[in-house]
Subunit: 237 residues, 2 copies
DNA sequence: CAACTCATGTGAATGGTTCTTACATGAGAA
DNA sequence: TTCTCATGTAAGAACCATTCACATGAGTTG
């Protein structure tokens, strides 16, 4: 396992072979360590074992590297959300909640990607590739909202799916930003971010007229018990 | 108007007189221009007309300046929210919505403060002064939620106020972060951030059992018209 | 196989940044 | 009036981004 690309590898020819990838990985590690702000181009080069000028053969400047990472992040984000949504199986509401948890899981497990995507100051709309990737990720949430909106109980007004998607996205993003990462200097919370989001989404959906009582697996159609809130249930995760 | 602090002011003695304040203002301007990341300590010094070493007499380092700005931001934020809440006048729900709008207004009108507070990577919990200021600002939202929770209609479960506050805060922060500032490279939106937040909060409150139908000023107790959503009303702002 | 080419990496240089240290200044206290 | 000390300056070490002329060698081509 040590025959290739092991930190100090004196036996590297003049050419690296896969510097672009190595730089992306190095930058990712550095961002995870020291935050998107405290990462330096020169450090990435050092970490890949090349001279400080080498990276310029692959990225116009530091910002372009950051943008590449953000793009890759959006791509991984999209596949993660797609998997979580699983086309609405087994049922739309629980799949929807799974998407929310996947959102938080991504923020928690991939802080480097997350901060490159949302906190690094990379201008998204400027880069077509990047904004397309971001759009694709968001479209998963939007599609899920669309399906959910179509399920609106009779007698209730049907909410605009785009608006629903924006609300859910905002709440997810807000929770992830404010309380998401346990890593450094975030606020303390009396509950897990996941539980907070789940409760918030349930309350929101109920506000739209969805029946959101926890149906026990055995009795999916139990009689509704109105005066209980989504916040008292102990999630059996 | 040019007798004081006009870019190149040759008639300044050896001592500046109010450098600390001048640096804070200069930094604020620079952050507004180039973002929290692209602001440099040296630039602030230049902008205040002093040598690059002078700021070190007032701030241990660049981060401490940023933290000072964040703290001042939280203080202004607190007074703004306090004013918006106005102790729940004229009625709890509308005061609550006003707080939400104030949140977005702050993000929009004071992008420099906002990004120092939330996007600059300043570790909040590390600095007691800073975290206290942040806590005071949040406590406004929490107090409002408390009052709102106490109003829960009979027959509905009373939600934990802290949780409500966190939900509202998260949604506000998410919307502000994702769509709040029109300035640079944010996402386009089919509606204003304010309307988005207002609709979201109304749906959320309805999910908690609050009657959130828009009561016309003339007829505050009109019969509830269940199948309308908060999203169709054209806000007469 | 030899020559060529061009993507990729190097070294060195420029100019800007943070932060330190020794020194200068002058406003207010004594 | 003199002294002191907070506040500012000059100079410098260490670091970073970025550029440019130049080196290398993998792959192509005759």
């Amino acid at each position: 396992m040590s025959w290739r690309k092991d930190h100090r590898r004196p036996e590297r020819g003049y050419h690296h072979g896969n510097l672009k990838e190595a730089l992306l990985q190095a930058a990712l590690g550095l961002i995870a360590e020291k935050g998107a702000a405290g990462f330096t181009f020169a450090d990435a080069a050092r970490s890949a074992g090349v001279s400080p000028a080498a990276p310029y053969r692959h990225f116009r400047d530091r910002d372009e590297l950051l943008a590449s990472i953000a793009q890759r992040g959006f791509e991984q984000f999209e596949t993660l959300l797609t998997k979580a949504w699983d086309d609405g199986r087994p049922d739309t509401v629980s799949a929807f909640e799974r998407v929310g948890r996947a959102y938080l899981a991504f923020a928690r497990n991939e802080p480097a990607y997350y901060s490159a995507m949302f906190e690094s100051g990379v201008p998204i709309d400027v880069n077509p590739m990047l904004s397309a990737a971001s759009e694709r990720a968001f479209s998963i949430i939007r599609a899920a909202a669309e399906r959910l909106a179509a399920l609106t109980p009779p007698g209730a007004a049907r909410p605009p799916a785009l608006m629903m998607a924006l609300h859910i996205w905002s709440m997810s993003h807000g929770i992830a930003s404010l309380f998401g990462r346990g890593d450094a200097a975030r606020r303390k919370l009396p509950m897990s971010a996941e539980d907070l989001l789940e409760a918030g989404v349930l309350i929101y959906l109920r506000g739209l007229g969805f029946p959101t009582e926890r149906r026990s697996p055995e009795d999916p159609n139990a009689a509704p018990k109105p005066p209980r809130g989504p916040w008292d249930q102990k999630s059996a995760t």
